[in-house]
């Protein structure tokens, strides 16, 4: 049996590798930041004058918490792409041969995704504060908890998706599908009322999406909305997080050891 201290240390060392790699893909990173800022500026400026102000009074303030959410979702999700490539190139053989427990290896990979999310989101938090104003201390704690839960969920889900199959093309297709489902079928770009009208029977997909839940909490924390169902949104994120963790652990280990 491995002690908790050893488990945490091993997980942390594994996560350092993933965090360092994140900054080695510097061009991807630059492109991604540019895209997120472009989302904010282009959508914000263009739709500000077009969208019905009764529905969305200020589109920039509406979309800023959404971009904040996307930033952590996108960066945490990158871990899955690397796990997939490692599986294909059998770098995973090396990882599973190391003197660490399987549990610490999975936890480390997930933590790697979480840390990527936090580092990447930091700049967008500053941007959000500049646009939306400074939240109170209790709201900061809420933002922190939301980011942690969302990053863990996304990191776990991306690892799960990347280890579902050894077929790289299929893997890439599933990853893209999951990514775009979370990205577009959520309330990041559109208000829930519009989703209910336009998506019809598919609207619950957006309603129960962890991205939508996180956006709701961010919007509340930055004062865009005055109240939020914390039990549903925060509780929902916890459920997503546990579900993701269990799935990642099961599938990652199953696919790494034959």
């Amino acid at each position: 049996m491995v002690g908790l201290r050893e488990f945490v240390l091993q997980s942390f060392i594994v996560s350092q590798r993933d965090l360092k790699r994140f900054f080695m893909n510097i061009y991807w990173l630059a492109g991604q930041v540019a895209m997120n800022i472009a989302d904010l500026v282009i959508f914000g400026l263009i739709f500000r004058g077009i969208v019905n102000p009764v529905l969305i009074p200020d589109y920039i303030k509406f979309i800023t918490p959404g971009i904040l959410c996307l930033s952590i979702f996108i960066s945490s999700f990158t871990i899955g792409r690397e796990v997939g490539v490692e599986l294909r190139r059998e770098v995973t053989h090396y990882l599973v041969s190391l003197p660490i427990t399987r549990g610490a290896l999975v936890a480390g990979r997930i933590l790697g995704g979480v840390l990527r999310g936090f580092v990447y989101q930091f700049g967008f938090i500053i941007l959000a504060v500049l646009i939306m104003g400074l939240p109170t201390l209790d709201k900061w704690l809420l933002i922190l908890a939301t980011s942690l839960l969302l990053a863990t969920t996304m990191s776990s889900i991306s690892i799960t998706v990347s280890t579902l199959t050894r077929d790289f093309n299929l893997q890439a297709a599933i990853r893209s599908l999951v990514y775009f489902l979370f990205f577009f079928v959520s309330n990041v770009f559109y208000p829930e009322k519009a989703i209910a009208v336009r998506l019809g029977p598919a609207a619950p997909l957006a309603y129960y999406s962890p991205v939508s839940m996180a956006v709701n909490i961010y919007r509340y924390s930055f004062g865009y909305i005055q109240q939020v169902d914390l039990l549903f949104n925060l509780g929902g994120l916890v459920v997503w997080c546990i579900f993701g963790l269990l799935l990642a652990y099961k599938l990652y280990i199953r696919n790494l050891t034959r």
Binding site: V14, K20, R21, E86, H93, Y94, S97, R102, T257, R258
Partner: protein, 314 residues
Amino acid sequence: MRSKAVEIKNFTKKFGGFTAVDNLTLDIYEGEIFGLLGPNGSGKTTTLLTIATVYKPSGGDIYVFGHSVTREDYEVRKLVGIAFQDPKAMWIDKPIDLLKWHARVVGYSGEEAKRVVREVMELLGLWEHRNKQFYQLSGGTRKKVELAKVLIQKPRVAILDEPTAQVDVLSKHALWDVIKKLRDEGTTVILATNDMFEAERVCERIGIIYKGRLRALGTISELKDSIPSGDVIEVQYEASSLPGELLRELEVYGKVKHESNRITIYVEKGEEKVVDIVDLFKKRGVRIKKIMVKEPTLDDVFTYITGAKLRGEE
């Protein structure tokens, strides 16, 4: 009596319907350099990866210093280090980062890790390549990075899967000395190779594995003695086909192996038989291009035991 470092008991590994290793039983003793010799696809790597807990046995079990790979995999991993046949890294990785991280994983603190990584990289001539990305390294340098991981780890059991493949001749000799030094420092080394010269030069005992089965086991001299006739006569001839009668006549002298325009005959007292054999070729009108009598090599042992050549046969 020497204690066992690795005990392989009735180990079988199947991938779907394909049996990669079939009922392998083998002991590897503490402090020896044990060679696993066989052509590509013979089951060497599968066996090594199972010792390193990368694969799980389909049948039987493997014990490393008494710990089962199926039930105590973490304990086993703490004792074993492996240098893979195909270097395991992403193209953007730099050797220095890979090895520093590896050092941290195997238990070195930050400063210790830096020191030991530099020492090992200098020993293997890797220091000048430390900041290159993996795709910029030659095949031989990549193999050295793999070996460096094991040298940093200093495990009780080191698994080296074809560690000198793609390495230039000069570096090969240096790496063999490094492997022997690792053994002298107390590590049991399991070395998989299809290079019989490397096996003769480095290994103390050898297991010959072919098509997933262990075909022979012993020291190099024991294996050479396993060829009952003692000498090998190799004949290269100039003809498009060989008369069947000639082959039958040659079999009187010993076991005959015929491959393209080359015949290998395992005989006793080769020098005495060579004249008769030359006469036989003359009588059948087959011109000899080259003939030689030699002591058996490990390659000959392998050919004698399996009927196949060590290189080039899958």
